[in-house]
Amino acid sequence: MSNLAQIQESFEAYKNAFEQGQISANEYKSLLEGLEVEKSVTINAEELQFKEHLHTAISAAISAASMLG
């Protein structure tokens, strides 16, 4: 399951827990705010992953160019 699909599933689970009286309104609010942070974690992790891939590609290109030269 992707991270964003997991966030969607959590949203449904929190809504159910609130509607069934398992969590208070304040707890529900805190969990929803947490989902916003989780979304941000996913975005920031993707940015870092992109940079890592770019680093690998540049390093490989430099190695290849060094061999040619």
Partner: protein
């Protein structure tokens, strides 16, 4: 050859700054990884304490302190912007849990488990990507 083509394609579509930033990005750091692993492991195991309000309050405080330690550790490492952002996210998430226990009202076992779940998932995502930083 495939990698060389990818690199050439990337260099033609990205700005010089982005390339320099990626090439000189902060390397893998054992301390960052260990602190995230601690948050990941504790948030997985502390679910067992959720019935105990006092213990849970102290557990959330401990998670918050570890997240703050991670943020403080990563903040002055050059070219480490993404890790710094992830550390700030971990501080925010653990703070949300800690603050609920500081209100003085009883906190449900369900909330405790769900909030620990959020912290655990986020720590795992961050740990996985930080573990892949170049050596």
């Amino acid at each position: 050859m495939k990698k060389l083509i990818t690199a050439v394609l990337l260099t033609t579509t990205l700005s010089g700054c982005a390339l320099i930033d990626a090439y000189f990005m902060a390397k893998y750091d054992n301390v960052e990884y260990a602190l995230l692993n601690k948050i990941n492991t504790l948030s997985e195991l502390l679910v067992d304490d959720c019935k105990d309000q006092k213990k849970s309050h102290s557990n959330f405080e401990g998670l918050y302190w570890t997240a703050v330690e991670l943020r403080n550790f990563s903040q002055y490492i050059p070219r480490n912007k993404e890790t710094q952002k992830l550390a700030v996210n971990m501080v925010e998430l653990t703070k949300q849990g800690k603050e609920m226990y500081e209100k003085g009202t009883p906190i449900s076992e369900t909330f405790c488990k769900l909030k620990l779940g959020q912290i655990n998932r986020s720590a795992k995502v961050a740990q996985e990507v930080i573990g892949k930083k170049p050596r």
